[in-house]
């Protein structure tokens, strides 16, 4: 059975927990275990943080819309924003396994999304960014 959940929140860090709850409920409906539920929450949290920090350039600059579609064993999360266009190809990669002096933690959000989800797809349409995240059991 297909289940859908939608939420629109202002782009603020204190709303991420609410988004996380929505994603957790949808991931449970898809039949995921606690670890995969947490991974889906992490991916969405990082995506929304990037939208607020880099897309809008701060809090309360625009809204974030999250839609979850749960099928047995598969969760599709679509995140939309009206921030400036995001091109994942120009985002700096994280510096992993480096020395403390060189260590930076920029670029980790996108890296996490790609590590924990099965599909991460960015597009820009109708004046807004659209991110599709898919996780399969």
């Amino acid at each position: 059975m297909r289940m859908e959940r939608n939420l629109s929140v202002p782009g603020r860090f204190d709303r991420l927990q609410q988004v996380g709850y929505l994603v957790a409920e949808a991931a449970k409906e898809a039949g995921f275990d606690e670890d995969d539920v947490s991974r889906c929450q992490l991916a969405v949290d990082e995506a929304c943080t990037n939208i607020i920090e880099h897309g809008y350039g701060g809090e309360d600059k625009g809204k974030i819309e999250v839609a979850c579609e749960a099928l047995p064993g598969e969760l599709t999360i679509t995140i939309r924003d009206q921030a400036r266009q995001f091109d994942p190809n120009v985002a700096p990669p994280p510096k992993l396994e480096t020395t403390i002096e060189n260590l930076g933690v920029g670029g980790l959000g996108l890296h996490f999304m790609r590590q924990v989800m099965d599909r991460v797809e960015f597009s820009y349409e109708n004046g807004g960014n659209k991110l599709i995240l898919v996780k399969r059991k």
Binding site: G20, D35, L42, E46, T98, G109, H111, V116
Partner: protein, 110 residues
């Protein structure tokens, strides 16, 4: 997120609980910064009760680690849950931080 700090044998032990995300990580970073500014640079961060951590939490930990390493201190981690450990591993930080299974072992390692 809640934070409490206690002193043990010249080591500051900061225990964190709840969610460490973009909304709460600045509080964690500020609390750690206050310790460093007070010349308390041997720090154990007990993560036992952290139920969730995003890259924002890692950023707070890494900036503190850099600050204390400059003055020959260290920030060592205790009790990360498997979920927090996974986030550390994904970020390539398990070889950067000294990670201990218990708070006592982390304190004793100084």
């Amino acid at each position: 997120m809640e934070i409490s700090t206690q002193e043990q044998k010249h080591v500051s032990v900061m225990s964190v609980s709840g969610r460490v995300d973009s909304a709460t990580a600045p509080d964690l970073e500020n609390s750690l910064k206050k310790l460093v500014e007070a010349d308390k640079t041997q720090i154990v961060l007990d993560l036992k009760d952290v139920e969730y951590m995003s890259s924002a939490g890692l950023r707070a930990m890494v900036s503190t680690l850099k600050a204390v390493k400059r003055v020959n201190g260290d920030l060592r981690l205790a009790n990360p849950s498997p979920r927090v450990e996974e986030v550390l591993r994904l970020a390539g930080l398990t070889s950067i931080f000294s990670i201990h299974p218990t708070q006592d072992e982390a304190v004793a390692s100084f």
